[in-house]
Amino acid sequence: MSASVAPRPRSLHRFANPGRFLRLSELVLPWLATGGLVLTGIGIVWGLFFSPADWQQGDAVRIMYVHVPAAWLASAGYLALALCSAISLVWRHPLADLAAVEIGPVGAAFAAVCLASGSLWGRPTWGAWWVWDARLTSVLVLFFLYLGHIALVRAFDSPERGYRAGAILALVGVVDLPIIKFSVVWWNTLHQPATITLTGAPTMYIAMLWPLLFTTIGYTLGFAAIVTARLRAAVMERRIRALLMARAAEAENVA
């Protein structure tokens, strides 16, 4: 006689268990935070004091070590937001909704850093704080998409309806990502084209590339650590609400 065994949860749904997520993230979070701090620190000191100045832009080029990681994370964060939205719409993954809500403000903050540092770089280099260039405008649109998502998920009395509406907006907004990426190719822009590509060798001096690599990886780990900490808090807050509501219902029944 064969004993009946409960089916093993599918790989993705294993992580839908909030308890499992809390246990796993408790282990991962210190590594993400420490790695992010150390690598960003090394990259910033290297970029500020040891990397060479650009022959044309002078020391203003050092803004790159903050601007490029922020730009990368503004786009990558939105991609993660859209991915969570797709998972939420297709599989109704409970953590995906919370992750999308928690990624939104962090991504918006990095998009704001990208825009502000770009503006501070543009003033000494181009002579203007802002130009309605295709790259700059498409990143500004990305920032507004983040703000729209933040507002939309909080605009409904029912959180589930907010999650659905936010997920649809996030998926529609994905169209902005290739526009950002290829804006410098499709249009004649003031913004420089990509210096680092997947297919070719970087067109950047190696002494500038290393600190950029450090800050980019450090910022990425830092972004992941912030989102993980926010997601852990959101999961615990949800559990607190559920427990308090259960207690209130119990007290009502007794009365």
Partner: protein, 48 residues
């Protein structure tokens, strides 16, 4: 270096904004963990 104010401004924003988010996230997580431990019977059980 004439570009120093621009470089300093960009680094200040690039470190302060993510730093503020990191501190806020950590504080929120600590508060939630403390509140949950106070009301959740499972949180009080020793881990095996």
């Amino acid at each position: 270096m004439t570009q120093l104010p621009y470089v300093a401004g960009a680094y200040a924003l690039g470190l302060l904004i993510p730093g503020a988010f990191a501190i806020a996230a950590w504080a929120r997580m600590r508060t939630a963990a403390r509140r949950l431990a106070a009301i959740d019977p499972r949180a009080r059980r020793p881990r095996r």
